[in-house]
Every structure is written in structure tokens, then in C-alpha cells.
């Protein structure tokens, strides 16, 4: 792997002193442009490259269901060994009586007699293991794999997760985790590109307090107006005009954008406005592209960098040329970048742009207050703000700067530090020009999705590299933090004032107090995950301090604990300023916390890969930042909104399906093998199989496999639309609740009960009675005695029918496929038994099952006993189902009842709260607000009072008129199209 490449382009050859600088290095997977080839030297290719360090080894992910399965398997293995041991011991106890050991009719050979007792016991033990080994459902693993593999196609086929614009569908990279999607407790999401579109749009700039908005039409919508907005035409005066143009020039010059002339570009593509796309701007930062694009719309077009001269097309269509002298590159410590250019008039300028916090302290002139106000306002609204300043350099100052830079660049030791110092000295005495605001728009339905996840009991964490204000604004817009949310901060700012220790314990007190009070008042009804409404904001630096195994060992461990405790009680957490590996660290931390919650990570960029790999379920978004996340993920979806269907519908279905699959498999194998175990007590512990070999082999393969497989592919206990509309249903299956030990025990007990019914039913029928065929079919008036194989066949017939009917009782969604496989397998069993009994092929007469099945069916009592035993076997389960449904209905069952009552129209009626009988009222969610840039709707004072709308389910349609405040606000925003958007979002979110 070639990771760090040093290259040199030719001509002109760079000075040798420049060789080993970061700017002459290009990282792995860089795109080669403007030259056909380069000569390069690999500097380092080992394990300590950035890529290797950030590389998370891909580990095998296993779902919680699989872990339960393995636990059950151990139990069954113990049962198997226990059974074999019990039988072996009993055999020798039983044989202690010599008459039983070797009755005259069953003499052993001499060789057998001479065999040592230990060897005989061992042989017996192994023979029992062979006899009972079917209790370990090997076929379950095959079926589970098939279910997962085939089931994943439904995810890929789902048209609801098709993105028409991108023409992409959901991709399933691993089919092992389908059911894990139904168990998610923590969602870690990236912000840029995941919650937001990563489609930077230049919103406004502010020059000396005057606000400029490009007259642009974004996605078909006119940008909303604001009172304080000045259009470009209304120029404020010659003085202002000068600074305005300087500002525009500054933005046109102070960047590292490159121009690409072709239509297509390898790698990262930032093509905007495809209509006039003769040239593209390319940059590592999409913000810069947005800024340059914005300047283009304001009249200043950056043309190209040619012979160290930047060319700008100004408003009068004149080309201005600036000589690019130095680039003081961006870094995350300074959080700003600068260029030094020489205008054609000969003056030298330093243009600097950067985060407000890094610019303001260096500003000596300019309308700081106005700009600061605007910047703060924009930041709160979730815009990414940058400040622009300049400094005219005299020739002496320039020479000094050159000297500083040159010296730093040539330094052999601590070059980086010296460079930073040099930058620091040069970027001073700035004159503030203004600020820009770039918007990264929320993805469509992002807010709705986040809200649904919250209602479904998931905790949503946003992990981003962005700065706190921007990220927090996005969180508000995406409903991660709601209006009622108490936001706690744990940031560097706070830890500067207070020690980390105090801050943490303060927070935990704040968080725990109301919860403890609530818990004391009503410990039962408060559902888990519904803890008050706290939000936490933490930044990367504080986080690493929290996680650091500190100098003081006793405290450091507890920091993590306290932090986790706080997080557990927050419904939403925002982690800003995170490094990629820190994202993974957070996921790991939560994963390892004491409840071992199931985590899901979703992201779109390469920096999310480690988090995606770390989480239980990793979801990649096929975004603008390439395919790396999608490729490394377990599932890839085109848009964040598809997460909703993925989790609430597919996850729910697959969890229900596979849990039934697992339980049913264990159940049917208990039913299968337990009679065989019981039979040993009646055959002198001689390992006589109860069933014929063909039945033993085919039971799991043919007779009972397809119905459960198809069940586990087709079952829908609740309509998908209802699942999507009522996210709280997701809580019904949380914490792996269908695979808990009590339920497992119930199934096993049911299996044992059925086995007892089947075996002893047949036993009493056969025991010392003249249970015979009265042979009406074959010859009249004869009696034919039944032997051991008929006994086994009777038990087996009852077995196959009972376990299949058990599935019939559990199936709630009967498509024609279910009918086909369920009745088909029963028919197949009968037909196979007849054929194997030689009814068509008499050549099968050598084998012991010859005509056994046929003879059994010719006997009246056999029919009667089959019917009786099947009924007796199913009776308790039916009673249990009916009584439980009546007395302790689960939410699922209530919904099913209601759905049945309204003949499937329930999905068209929105609120289900009234059906839930007040069991679990979801927290009243605030109204949908899909767009950030809509100030009036964001803070509707009258809304809080009216947010508790309640539809009755008898109302034929969710009436949009239930949202008068929304409509009024939308109307106030002079935007008809958005009113419609509210209308459609309303029914899903109003309770």
C-alpha cells in the first residue's frame, strides 16, 4: 500500500530545500491532474501511516440473536449430554440384574462379553449421542443463513428505499445482521452528508454589517426574504462599495480551489449547476467551492490559476490578475488560512479567512460588532460561518513575512511548530471585511426520521467534526434537541472554568435528580429510554479527557462511568469536533457499557468508516464523499430518511421472524427427540431408534423445514405502514425480548409437553392392548399386529402434524406461498411415507418400513389417536394465546385487533395512541419542521399550547385543518409549497 507519496512535477523543479514539506506530499488515493505522469517517492508505507492508524480491522459482526442462539445451543448441548449420560447410567443400573442384562433370547457374542465395561459404557454413551444428536438443530443454522440471505433481498428490492435521483437502492453488504436492525438502542450519526446533504450553498455574506444574498434559486425555491436584507443593487455608497468589492475579491482569492474544465472528473466531483457546467471548481473543502460559487453569482468569477497568477472576472467583465505569492494553508489548530497576493497595481495584500473565534482576536479594525452579531445569529441558525479579513502589506512587511516563512520551511527540526509560529506572526493586525454564511441543508425528512427514532426508544448521537454552534443548530433543526430539551454542555469552555471532575459530577446530579424523583413516584410506567428530556453537547477535547486513563487511577475509571451515566439519561447527545477514530471510540465505549446496548452507526464519509466498522450495525450513505462508507458498511442506503423504514419496518420484521425461527427450531427438535429418549426406558436402554432412518434424516430437511423458512421470510404480524407510522411499536421488541429465557423455557416446556403427549398417547394405545389394524382395506376380517416401527410411525405422524400446526397457529400473514408450503409439506410427508412404504415401488420391500404407514392408516384407532394427540398437543398453546391476548395483550396484539376491526384501514388512520390504552404514550412530539431556513415556523409561540392534537380514529381522514398554526406560519413565509410539506408530515407526527 502506497500511502504517502512525494511527488515532483516538472517543470519547474522545486528547490531542493522544499523536498520534505507536507505540501509537497500527496496522500494516498490522490487524483493526478494537469500532468500525464509524476515521479514519486514513497516516503513511508508501514503501519503508522495515517490510513493504517485510522484503519479499523473488520471484525466479524454477530447479532444479538445469534448470541442468544448460541446460548440456547449450549443449553441443548447440555441436555443432549445429560440425556446420554442419564441413559448410560440407567442402562447399567438396570442391567445390574443379570436376567435383564442378557436374557437367553438375546445372547451376546463372545467378543462382546469380553469387552471391558468402561469401553462398553463409552460405546453406549456415544451411541446415545448419535441417537439424540438431532436435538441440536444443525439444520437451524442452514435455515437461518438461508433466511438471512434471501431476506436481505427484500431490503434491496424495497422501492421505498429507492432514491430516484441517484438511482440507487439499499445495498446489503452482509446479510448477517438483518434482525439486529430491530434491536438498535443507540444510533450514532455523522452530521455532514448524513443528516445534512453535504451540498454547501452560499446563503449570504455580510460586509460591514450589510447583508448580501445572491439572487439564486435553490432547488426551485426562492430564498426566503428577511427584513434586514440588502440586495446588491441598493448599494450603500462609494465607501461601502469599495470594501464590498475588496471582500468579494478576498473571497475569490483566498482559497485553494482549482478549476477543472472537463465535464467529468475522477474522484471527488463538485459540479454545480449542470446547465452551464463547462468548468468545475474542485477543492478538498466543499465550503470553499460554495463560497467561490457564491461569489460568481455576486459578480466576481474566479477563472483560473495560471503561471502563479489568479485571474478574476469582475463585474465589469474585466479580467483582474493577482500574483499568488504565498499560501498559508489551513490547519485545524489555527482554523484559518491566508493567501498573500500582489495586485496588478503592485500592492501586496494578505487575505485571511477562518472561523470567527480565530479571526476576531487578530482584528484591529473593521465593524467588528456588526459582523459578530450577524455571525452569531447565523451560527445559531445552523449556518457554517467564516470571517474574512485582510491586511495590506508594505514591501518591508512582505519581505519579513517571506523571510519568516522561508526560515520555517527550511527548518530541520520542529518545522511544523516553527511554521505555525510564522503564520501566527504574519496573520496579525487584520482588518475585518465581513463574514460569510454557507448552509449545509438538512436532508429531506431528516427531522422526521430523527423524531421517529426517538419515539422508537433509540438514543441518537450526532458525532461530527464541525464546531459546536453549527452542529447544535443542525441538531435543533433536525429535532434531535427539541424545544423542551435541556441541553447540557460539557465543552472545553466549561472545563476551563471548572475542573472536569466538578463539571461531570454537576451534570450527573442535574440529570439524575429528576429521574430519581420520577422513578420514586412511578417506577413502572416510565418506559426505559424516556428519561426526561436531556441533551448533552460534548466536544472532542473534553471527551478525550474524560476517556483518558488519567494520572489519578481511582478517578479516571469513574469519569467514564459518570460520563456513561449522564449519557444514558440523555435522549440526544451531540459530540462535536471529533476525530474519526474518536467516533469509533465513542461507539466502543457505549458498546462496552454495562447494558451492552446494540449500536448503529451511520455515516457517509471515509471518516465514518471506523465508526461504521465498530458499531454493531454499520450503515453507509451513498453520499457525495465517495463510496468508502457504503463499501465498508453492513448496509448502505441512499438517504438518511431510509433509515426509518430500515429500522422500523425491516428491522422489526426480521427480528420477529428470526426469533420465531430460532424458538421454533428448538421446539420442534425437542418434540422430535424427546420421545426417542422416553422410548429408551421401554426398550431396555438398548439405543433402539424410535423412528425409521428416513424419518430421522428427513424430518428437519424436508418435512418441517420449508414452512418455517417461508414463515421467516413472509411473516408480517403488523402492517408495514402501521409500523412506520407508530415508531413506539419498535419498543415492543427491544432488548431482544422475544429471545429471553422465559420465552425460551416456554417453548422448550411446550416441546417436552408435546413429546410426552405424543409418546405416552401412543404408548397407552399400544401397551398390552390389541391395538391392531382391522385390515378392512387389505383383507377382510383379519387382525394384524403392529410392531415397533408402526409405533414410531404413529408418533412421527403426530409429531409432523403437531409441529406444523403449531406454526399454523403462529402464522399471522397467510400468503399463498405460506399455504403452499405448509399444506405442501404435510402432503409431502404423507406421499413420501406411502412411497417409502413401497406402495408404488415394491422393490423397497427389503426395508423395514415396507407398508408400515399404509397399514397404520388402515386402522381406525390410529386415525382417531392421531387426531386426538394433535389436538391434545396444541390445546395448551391455543388456550395460552387466547387468554394472554385477552388479559395481557401486548401493544402488537392490540394493534392487530384494531387493524382487524377496521379491516386493514388502520394504517390510513394516523394516531394509534388511543388504542394503546394509555400504556405507553409517546412523548408528544413537536411539529415537523423539515427546513431550517424558515425562521417563523421554528419558534411558534402559539404552537406549544396547541401541539397536543388528538385525532380520533373514526375520523375518515387526517384533516390538515388540524394544523392552523402551521398553515398560518407557512403562509407567512410566503411559500405555498412548504405548506404541503407540512401537511404530509403532520399526520405522522401528531399525537
Amino acid at each position: 500500500m502506497l500511502t504517502d507519496v512525494f511527488f515532483t512535477a516538472n517543470p519547474p523543479p522545486p528547490p531542493p530545500a522544499d523536498l520534505w514539506a507536507p505540501r509537497t506530499c500527496c496522500c494516498a488515493r490522490a487524483t493526478l491532474k494537469n500532468t500525464a505522469h509524476i515521479y514519486a517517492v514513497a516516503i513511508y508505507t508501514g503501519m503508522e501511516t495515517k490510513m493504517a492508524l485510522n484503519y479499523q480491522t473488520k471484525t466479524q459482526k454477530r447479532s444479538a440473536v445469534e448470541k442468544s442462539m448460541n446460548a440456547y445451543l449450549v443449553v441443548y448441548l447440555c441436555i443432549l449430554i445429560g440425556k446420554a449420560l442419564v441413559n448410560t447410567v440407567l442402562k447399567y443400573v438396570w442391567q445390574a440384574d443379570p436376567n435383564r442384562d442378557e436374557p437367553w433370547y438375546n445372547d451376546r457374542t463372545a467378543a462382546e462379553r469380553d469387552r471391558h465395561i468402561v469401553i462398553r459404557a463409552l460405546t453406549d454413551f456415544l451411541a446415545y449421542m448419535v441417537l439424540f444428536n438431532y436435538i441440536i438443530p444443525v439444520s437451524m443454522y442452514v435455515t437461518v443463513e438461508m433466511q438471512k440471505f434471501l431476506g436481505s433481498y427484500f431490503i434491496m428490492w424495497d422501492d421505498d428505499m429507492l432514491d430516484k435521483e441517484l438511482d440507487e437502492r439499499a445495498i446489503v453488504n452482509t446479510s448477517d445482521l438483518n434482525e439486529e436492525l430491530g434491536q438498535v438502542e443507540y444510533v450514532f450519526t455523522d452530521k455532514t452528508g448524513t443528516l445534512t446533504e453535504n451540498n454547501m450553498e452560499f446563503i449570504e455574506c455580510c460586509v460591514d454589517g450589510h447583508v448580501y444574498v445572491p439572487q439564486a434559486i435553490c432547488n426551485g425555491q426562492v430564498m426566503p426574504g428577511s427584513d434586514s436584507m440588502d440586495m446588491i443593487d441598493s448599494s450603500p455608497g462609494p465607501q461601502a462599495r469599495e470594501s464590498e468589492e475588496l471582500f468579494f475579491r478576498a473571497l475569490c482569492l483566498c482559497h485553494t480551489v482549482q478549476v477543472k474544465e472537463e465535464e467529468t472528473v475522477d474522484g471527488i466531483k463538485h459540479g454545480l449547476h449542470p446547465g452551464k457546467a463547462t468548468s468545475f471548481y474542485i477543492s478538498s473543502s466543499p465550503d470553499e467551492v460554495a463560497l467561490v460559487e457564491g461569489m460568481k453569482r455576486l459578480g466576481f468569477t474566479y477563472l483560473r490559476l495560471k503561471d502563479s497568477h489568479m485571474e478574476i472576472l469582475n463585474r465589469e467583465d474585466e479580467v483582474e490578475r493577482f500574483e499568488l505569492l504565498e499560501v498559508l494553508t489551513f490547519d485545524s489548530v489555527r482554523r484559518r488560512m491566508s493567501v498573500i497576493v500582489r495586485a496588478s497595481t503592485g500592492e501586496v495584500y494578505l487575505f485571511c479567512k477562518g472561523a470567527d473565534s480565530s479571526i476576531f482576536p487578530r482584528v484591529v479594525a473593521g465593524k467588528v460588532e456588526e459582523v459578530r452579531g450577524r455571525v452569531e445569529r447565523n451560527a445559531v441558525e445552523g449556518l457554517r460561518t467564516l470571517c474574512v479579513a485582510y491586511r495590506p502589506l508594505s514591501s518591508e512587511q512582505y519581505a519579513e513575512a517571506c523571510h519568516l516563512l522561508g526560515a520555517a520551511r527550511l527548518a530541520l527540526q520542529e518545522r511544523e511548530r516553527r511554521l505555525a509560529e510564522a503564520y501566527d506572526q504574519i496573520e496579525t493586525q487584520l482588518v475585518l471585511l465581513g463574514a460569510t454564511a454557507v448552509e449545509d441543508r438538512l436532508q429531506e425528512e431528516a427531522a422526521d426520521t430523527v423524531e421517529s427514532l426517538h419515539q422508537a426508544g433509540m438514543k441518537v448521537w450526532v458525532l461530527t467534526g464541525d464546531k459546536m454552534e453549527t452542529a447544535a443548530a443542525t441538531c435543533y433543526a433536525s429535532k434531535l434537541f427539541r424545544r423542551g430539551t435541556r441541553v447540557l454542555e460539557l465543552t472545553t469552555k466549561r472545563t476551563e472554568e471548572q475542573s472536569l471532575h466538578d463539571a461531570l459530577f454537576d451534570l450527573s446530579r442535574t440529570v439524575l435528580r429528576p429521574r430519581a424523583a420520577a422513578g420514586a413516584r412511578d417506577p413502572v410506567s416510565s418506559p426505559p429510554g424516556d428519561c426526561g428530556d436531556f441533551g448533552l453537547i460534548i466536544d472532542g477535547a473534553t471527551l478525550s479527557a474524560v476517556l483518558q486513563p488519567g494520572q489519578d487511577d481511582s478517578a479516571s475509571g469513574s469519569y467514564t462511568e459518570v460520563f456513561l451515566e449522564i449519557c444514558r439519561n440523555c435522549s440526544a447527545v451531540l459530540c462535536c469536533r471529533m476525530a474519526p477514530l474518536q467516533k469509533a471510540q465513542i461507539v466502543k465505549l457505549i458498546k462496552a457499557s454495562k447494558e451492552h446496548p446494540i449500536t448503529l452507526a451511520i455515516g457517509d464519509g471515509a471518516n465514518d468508516v471506523s465508526m461504521i466498522l465498530e458499531a454493531h450495525v454499520g450503515i453507509g450513505i451513498m453520499g457525495k464523499e465517495g463510496r468508502q462508507a457504503a463499501r465498508n458498511s453492513d448496509y448502505a442506503i441512499p438517504k438518511f430518511k431510509h433509515l426509518k423504514k430500515m429500522l422500523l419496518v425491516h428491522g422489526h420484521y426480521y427480528y420477529i421472524r428470526i426469533s420465531e425461527l430460532v424458538q421454533y427450531f428448538f421446539y420442534k427438535n425437542v418434540c422430535f427427540i424427546f420421545p426417542q429418549f422416553l422410548y429408551q426406558f421401554f426398550c431396555g436402554f438398548s439405543q433402539q431408534p424410535l423412528y425409521d432412518t428416513a424419518y430421522l434424516t428427513l424430518y428437519n430437511i424436508s418435512f418441517t423445514s420449508l414452512p418455517i423458512l417461508l414463515y421467516s421470510l413472509m411473516e408480517q404480524h403488523i402492517n408495514a405502514d402501521i409500523l412506520k407510522k407508530d415508531p413506539t411499536l419498535y419498543r415492543d421488541i427491544s432488548k431482544n425480548c422475544l429471545l429471553r429465557w422465559p420465552i425460551f423455557t416456554y417453548w422448550t416446556v411446550l416441546g417436552v409437553y408435546d413429546a410426552l403427549v405424543m409418546f405416552f398417547g401412543a404408548y397407552f394405545l399400544f401397551d398390552n392392548t390389541t391395538f391392531t389394524s382391522n385390515g378392512q382395506i387389505m383383507t377382510s376380517n383379519t387382525q394384524m399386529m403392529f410392531g415397533n416401527w408402526t409405533f414410531g410411525t404413529l408418533v412421527f405422524t403426530v409429531l409432523v402434524f403437531t409441529v406444523t400446526f403449531k406454526l399454523v397457529l403462529d402464522t399471522h400473514y397467510w400468503t399463498w406461498i405460506n399455504h403452499f408450503v405448509i399444506w405442501g409439506s404435510l402432503v409431502f410427508f404423507v406421499v413420501f411415507s406411502l412411497l417409502w412404504g413401497g406402495i408404488i415401488w415394491p422393490f423397497l420391500n427389503y426395508q423395514r418400513m415396507y407398508y408400515v404407514f399404509m397399514q397404520m392408516l388402515s386402522s381406525g384407532p390410529a386415525w382417531l389417536s392421531i387426531i386426538l394427540l394433535i389436538t391434545a398437543g396444541l390445546l395448551p398453546d391455543v388456550v395460552k394465546k387466547v387468554v394472554c391476548r385477552a388479559l395481557w395483550p401486548t401493544t402488537t396484539e392490540r394493534i392487530q385487533n384494531a387493524d382487524k376491526l377496521y379491516r386493514g384501514q388502520l394504517s390510513e388512520f394516523s394516531p394509534l395512541a388511543s388504542l394503546r390504552g394509555g400504556q405507553r404514550d409517546p412523548p408528544p412530539p413537536p411539529p415537523a419542521n423539515p427546513r431550517r431556513s424558515d425562521p417563523p415556523a421554528r419558534l411558534p409561540p402559539s404552537f406549544a399550547a396547541k401541539k397536543k392534537h388528538m385525532f380520533t380514529r373514526w375520523r375518515p381522514k387526517p384533516a390538515y385543518s388540524s394544523f392552523p398554526p402551521l398553515l398560518r406560519f407557512a403562509g407567512g413565509g410566503a411559500n405555498g409549497g412548504r405548506g404541503g410539506a407540512y401537511g404530509s408530515a403532520g399526520p405522522e407526527t401528531t399525537v
Binding site: P103, Y105, D107, T109, D158, C683, Q688, L765, Q855, Q896
Partner: protein, 337 residues
């Protein structure tokens, strides 16, 4: 697994791929289950009553003749040293024992379902394949060869064939009249006609040349039935009945039917003597032997279990439906109002 679904191979937007196939969605609601339970319960009780009554009407006469106790009629024969011992079982019928009457012998504590025992036979030999007469299957050991001579039929299962003999006499006016036994058709039709075949060759004795009889048998296979030459060899009815292993250690096997002559309608009231040729040793393993006379109904022989079980399950269904009804009335299924 990894696959990309692009435009070109996009599946059709069908109900199946979208998981929207039309489906019947039944539910186990009380409204269906309670009437269902009542119906099933009543039906089961009906069947149960019918079975119970039928079973009661079946007459069974059962006598143990092991001869363990000193005063029992076969005590003298239970000593293995006595050869060709005969003992008489006398019984009196007060009323007509309705026919057709089936006559069974029964063994207790006899494990015909031992695995090794059951496997100890040569299916190929028994299907008349001459090759296996001289080379019996190893599974027959230790009854594979007797002094180097192959045994036919080999194995422990044939070797241990039940060999007590029975003759039934009615005392009519002080003289013993033999009740004719019908030994035909007591085995499975398929066993008799297809599964078991005698080796080719006439007379049968010749076909068995080069083999010896199983050590416990008094006579070779071709002389099992001295009265009927066609009932010999591997298709001897008693042999076939024995070869169908019983499922449980206490079992009965059909010996004869009484269907002929004046006894076709049953055994008339009167005194009877069953003359038992006592050959089969069971005391060594604490076994018991018995004889059973029984008639049958449409549901086979006497079997109380089935009738009682039907009654129990049927009444449980009814009781459950009542319980559910109470639950229903008391708690009013909330969503079905």
C-alpha cells in the same frame, strides 16, 4: 455477500418484492376460539362416548399360565428340565363369547425391541436369497453358525421364536370337542406375500440343504407346520407374526382366530379346556406368559385408553371454553367492543 443493484437489473416492482402480497390474516380471537372449542369438545365427547361404549362391549378373557406359583396349573411345566410338558387351562364361559374370537399369546417383560436383538436377522436370507443361506449376515451373531454350519433363519430374533402350542377343547356332554383354530391371515399380507420368501426349490427341505436349524428350535424351518406343507419355511404365519417385533416389553401376539364351523359365531357358553404345550422358558428373565381370548370391534380390540382420552380432552375443551367465556365476560376484550 455483496451485490449492486443497478438500473439494468432492477427487479419488477411486484407485490412479492415489496412484501405486499395479499394475505389472509386470521387471529385467534375469543370469538372464533370459544365456539371452536365448544364444537371440538362436543365432537370429542361424542367420539369418546362411542369409543368407550364399544370398548366396554368387547369381551376379553385373559389367563396367566407362567406357572410361578405352586398352585397354578402350569407350575409343573415351569421347570425347564421337563420336556414336552403339557398343562391344561380350564375355564367356563357363562354366556356366548361373540365371534369372531381372536386368540392371542402374551409375553411380559420380554424386550423384543432390543436394538441388537431386532437387528439380529438377515433380511436377504429371509427374502429367499440362496446366497445368504451359506453366508449369513454378520449381524446374526452369535446365531450365525452352529458348529460351522450356517443357520437358516439366522439370528437371535428367529431363534427365539415362540414355540408354545395351544389346543382348545370344549367339554360337550363329557367329551372333548376340539375347537378349530384358523391360523391363516394372522400376519401382514405384505409380509406373507412379498417381504418374506422361501428359497426356490422343491421340496422345501432341499432348498434348506447345507444349513442347520436355529439352536432353540425343535424342528427346522421347513417343518414348522407339520399339518400344512404350504405353511412352512419363512412364510409360516407364526414365524411372520413373531418376526414383527413388538413395540413395548409387554405385548400380545395373535396366535389363531376362531372362525370356522359352529364356532364362527363365537364360543358358546360352556366349559373349555386349553391344552398348552409348555416349551417357552420365560422365568429366567422374570417374564410372564398369558393367553387372551378377545373379540374385536370396528375400532380394534379392547382399548379403554382411547375412549377415556377422548372424553378427557373433549371435556377439557368445553371447560376451557367456559373459562374463556368467563374471562371474556369479565374483562371484555378491550378492542372488540
Amino acid at each position: 455477500m455483496s451485490k449492486e443493484v443497478g438500473t439494468e437489473n432492477r427487479p419488477d416492482n411486484t407485490a412479492f418484492t415489496q412484501q405486499r402480497l395479499p394475505a389472509w390474516q386470521p387471529m385467534l380471537s375469543a370469538g372464533i376460539v370459544i365456539p371452536g372449542f365448544v364444537l371440538i369438545g362436543l365432537a370429542f365427547i361424542g367420539i369418546g362416548v362411542a369409543l368407550f361404549v364399544t370398548s366396554r362391549n368387547i369381551q376379553v378373557l385373559e389367563r396367566d399360565y407362567t406357572g410361578v406359583e405352586k398352585d397354578s396349573f402350569c407350575y409343573g411345566c415351569s421347570d425347564l428340565k421337563v420336556k414336552n410338558c403339557k398343562c391344561n387351562l380350564n375355564f367356563t364361559l357363562d354366556k356366548l363369547f361373540e365371534g369372531p374370537v381372536f386368540f392371542y399369546y402374551g409375553l411380559s417383560n420380554y424386550f423384543q425391541n432390543y436394538r441388537q436383538y431386532g437387528n439380529s436377522k438377515d433380511a436377504n436370507q429371509l427374502s429367499g436369497d440362496k446366497e445368504y443361506f451359506l453366508e449369513p449376515d454378520e449381524s446374526c451373531a452369535p446365531y450365525e453358525r452352529d458348529g460351522g454350519v450356517p443357520i437358516a433363519p439366522c439370528g437371535a430374533l428367529p431363534n427365539s421364536m415362540f414355540n408354545d402350542t395351544f389346543k382348545l377343547y370344549q367339554m360337550v356332554n363329557g367329551t372333548r370337542v376340539e375347537v378349530p383354530f384358523d391360523g391363516k391371515g394372522i400376519s401382514w399380507w405384505t409380509d406373507y406375500n412379498i417381504k418374506y420368501r422361501n428359497p426356490p426349490g422343491t421340496p422345501l427341505k432341499k432348498a434348506f440343504e447345507g444349513t442347520t436349524k436355529p439352536p432353540f428350535w425343535p424342528r427346522p424351518a421347513y417343518e414348522l407346520d407339520t399339518t400344512d406343507p404350504s405353511n412352512n419355511g419363512f412364510i409360516n404365519q407364526d414365524f411372520l407374526v413373531w418376526m414383527r417385533r413388538a413395540a413395548l416389553p409387554d405385548f400380545r401376539k395373535l396366535y389363531r382366530r376362531i372362525t370356522e364351523g359352529e364356532y364362527a359365531k363365537g364360543l358358546p357358553a360352556g366349559k373349555y379346556t386349553l391344552v398348552i404345550g409348555y416349551n417357552y422358558p420365560v422365568r429366567a428373565f422374570n417374564g410372564k406368559k398369558k393367553v387372551v381370548f378377545s373379540n374385536v370391534s370396528w375400532m380394534g380390540g379392547k382399548n379403554k385408553f382411547l375412549g377415556i382420552a377422548y372424553l378427557v380432552i373433549g371435556s377439557m375443551c368445553v371447560v376451557m371454553s367456559i373459562v374463556m367465556l368467563i374471562v371474556y365476560a369479565k374483562f371484555k376484550f378491550p378492542d372488540e367492543e
